[in-house]
């Protein structure tokens, strides 16, 4: 009951002040605007591009028909599927060469009896394989790979699927975008959390209103949770806004329609993207709340939180641009989510990493709540001059 009353107070404080609500929604709008403008500048006009894909296919699967249907739904897109051996390419090697040279847009290979083997694999039989070869130096090839990759990702879970990009010099702009997206998401989340948490914790401490609550018989852990939970919910509004901003600006950014962009990341990809955001928000809120509890004034807390933000930005950038970071990254708070989000956005999603990052971030949050409760009990922290 006391925890509920504490949470209700935080919500009343937030929803009673329209200015605070606006600061939460603004980041998403900003992301949308910035990314749309950046996307238009980089891929100007390509969102209405007309594509006539030439795709080689080795082996057979119903998935080809699904991809063809999806292509047909895109305005101005058509696809010609050429089954191997063909006149201009008899072997898989020759077809790969055509894709590499830009004479074809993609090559799809399915292991023998692919569709039948799917059912067998579900029952413990050998796992069928599918490969998609493309060349992201060509916008058409990248657009097809994004669409086909999404469909094959959703086609079934009982086969091994590999996407291989022949681009010798990867499209730097697109690579940078994929690297920057999670970084920007985290930065915007941090800003949302900072604006509400600093005011609610350091502000209350500075004004002496937190001490008034400490004189009541509410447990310190309830007071800590009564801050972190509602502030996380409120910050989630900001996070959801940022997330929506990213989703809506992705098509322009990647030079494709919304349907294709969504198919590229895949429903599961978006689900994990949101799950990762949900795990990062309470973690950042509790980290800022702990720093705010330690600080004497909002100004002091802002200084420390600024340093925390810089640290997080450096970590996120390292994760975005340094190749070959090991599996240990999954144990590093926030950074694990950034790395997992990058995996989702580049089509290299690893579910176990998403789930472990999600779980660990919640565990770190619980630990921080415990730390805040201890800090609230500390006379030196709460009443030290």
């Amino acid at each position: 009951m006391k925890l509920l009353a504490l949470m209700k107070k935080e919500f009343s404080r937030f929803f009673g002040d329209p200015k605070l609500l606006i600061t939460m929604i603004l980041p998403g709008v900003l992301i949308y605007l910035i990314y749309t403008i950046m996307g238009s500048a980089i891929f100007g006009g390509s969102e209405t591009a007309q594509y006539d894909f030439k795709v080689y296919v080795s082996g057979e699967s119903q998935a080809v028909q699904l991809i063809d249907d999806a292509v047909g739904k895109q305005e101005g897109w058509t696809a010609e599927f050429v089954y191997l051996p063909a006149e201009d390419a008899e072997t898989v090697g020759q077809a790969q060469e055509k894709v590499r040279n830009g004479e074809a847009d993609a090559l799809l290979t399915f292991s023998e009896g692919f569709d039948d083997a799917l059912a067998g694999a579900a029952a413990g039989g050998p796992v069928p394989t599918a490969d998609l070869y493309y060349n992201s130096e060509s916008d058409a090839s990248a657009a097809f790979a994004s669409l086909a990759g999404g469909i094959l990702d959703a086609y079934g879970r009982t086969f091994s699927f590999t996407m291989s990009d022949f681009a010798e010099a990867a499209d730097i702009a697109r690579g940078v975008m994929a690297g920057l997206l999670p970084f920007l998401i985290v930065v915007f989340i941090f800003s949302s959390c900072m604006s509400v948490t600093l005011e609610s914790v350091a502000g209350e401490k500075e004004r002496g209103t937190l001490a008034t609550i400490l004189v009541t018989s509410a447990r310190r852990s309830d007071i800590a949770l009564g801050k972190v939970l509602p502030l996380s919910c409120v910050s989630l509004i900001g996070a959801a806004s940022s997330f929506l901003g990213v989703v809506l600006s992705l098509p322009t950014l990647m030079g494709m329609s919304l349907d294709v962009a969504v198919a590229g990341v895949g429903a599961l990809g978006y689900f994990f993207l949101f799950l990762l955001i949900v795990s990062v928000v309470p973690l950042i809120v509790s980290a800022i709340a702990a720093v705010s509890t330690l600080s004497r004034t909002v100004k002091e807390a802002s200084g420390y939180t600024g340093m925390l933000m810089i640290l997080m930005m450096v970590f996120s950038l390292v994760s975005a641009f340094v190749q070959g970071i090991g599996g240990w990254v999954v144990a590093v708070p926030v950074l694990n989510a950034v790395a997992a989000m990058q995996g989702v956005l580049t089509g290299a999603m690893e579910i176990w990493k998403c789930l472990v990052s999600f779980g660990l971030n919640l565990v770190y949050t619980a630990l921080l709540v415990f730390v805040i409760a201890r800090l609230l009990s500390s006379e030196r922290v709460m009443f030290g001059k």
Partner: protein
């Protein structure tokens, strides 16, 4: 520390008992300069013992920096003594702080109310914090708001209230849970004469209701007007403690205070 295994087992009419309370604070270099001392620690309360009884007002009288506020903060469980212990309604402030907080109402100018909310909202909020049942809370709000003239300002945000009204709201909220012991740090400080009278009258009313009140003050007239017992604190030590009549011994409290002060400090004021 208190010696018995079951401390304060003899709790009866004695609602507050402090035994050998000692509290020191670390001084920063800047604070050392301001205090003109080379010692890194300051003794705020030095072996303080006293008792307060049911249905009486006990006043801690002393100059600024004597240790009054520190003592009240210890009793309200906001800070812990370095040594010694105190019991409020039989509960140790060091071992059962939550139970102590259930039984006390603490008011000091350092504890503030969030200016964004209204008195009515805050009354309900702090009622919930103390676990007061909703029906009883509504009844108590009606009664106390009417008694202090807050009812007309119940839905006005705290930031728009006058200083006097804010003090009344703070007072009412500090006793939202009908505590057995009310602890007030300088209850009339900064109040205009009218609000000060409302507060002092209410303290007498609480006393008549059988509540125990502990207050700190440096105002002699307030002690004479309100207190049944008084403890004079100088430099963190209890210089005199007893009923007002016993402590004063026929003198006014002001005369007696300065006599004791000269005796302790060896200097005139």
């Amino acid at each position: 520390m208190l010696s018995t295994e079951t401390p304060f087992s003899d709790f009866g009419e004695e609602v507050v008992r402090a035994e050998n309370l000692r509290k020191t604070f670390t001084l920063s270099r800047k604070q050392q300069r301001l205090e003109h001392t080379d010692f890194p620690r300051k003794v705020a309360v030095d072996g303080l013992s006293f008792s307060a009884y049911r249905g009486e007002i006990y006043g801690l009288l002393g100059p600024n920096g004597a240790g009054k506020t520190t003592t009240l903060r210890i009793l309200s469980t906001l800070i812990r003594p370095d040594s010694g212990d105190a019991a409020v309604c039989g509960h140790s402030v060091t071992r059962e702080p939550q139970k102590v907080r259930d039984t006390i109402g603490f008011m000091t100018s350092e504890l503030k109310l969030e200016s964004f909310f209204t008195p009515s909202y805050l009354f309900d909020f702090f009622g919930a914090m103390h676990g007061v049942e909703k029906g009883a809370l509504a009844e108590r709000k009606k009664e106390l708001f009417a008694r202090f003239g807050i009812d007309r300002f119940a839905e006005v945000r705290v930031r728009d209230l006058s200083t006097g009204m804010l003090q009344k709201v703070s007072l009412v909220i500090s006793i939202v849970h009908d505590p057995s012991v009310v602890i007030f740090d300088e209850p009339t400080n900064g109040l205009d004469v009218l609000t000060a009278k409302v507060v002092t009258d209410f303290l007498l009313e609480l006393k008549a209701m059988g509540k125990s009140i502990l207050l700190s003050t440096h105002i002699f007239s307030l002690v004479e007007k309100l207190c049944d017992r008084v403890g004079i604190i100088i430099d963190g030590k209890m210089a005199a403690d007893g009923t007002l009549a016993d402590v004063c011994g026929g003198m006014s409290i002001e005369e007696k205070f300065f006599e004791i002060y000269r005796g302790v400090k060896g200097e005139t004021v």
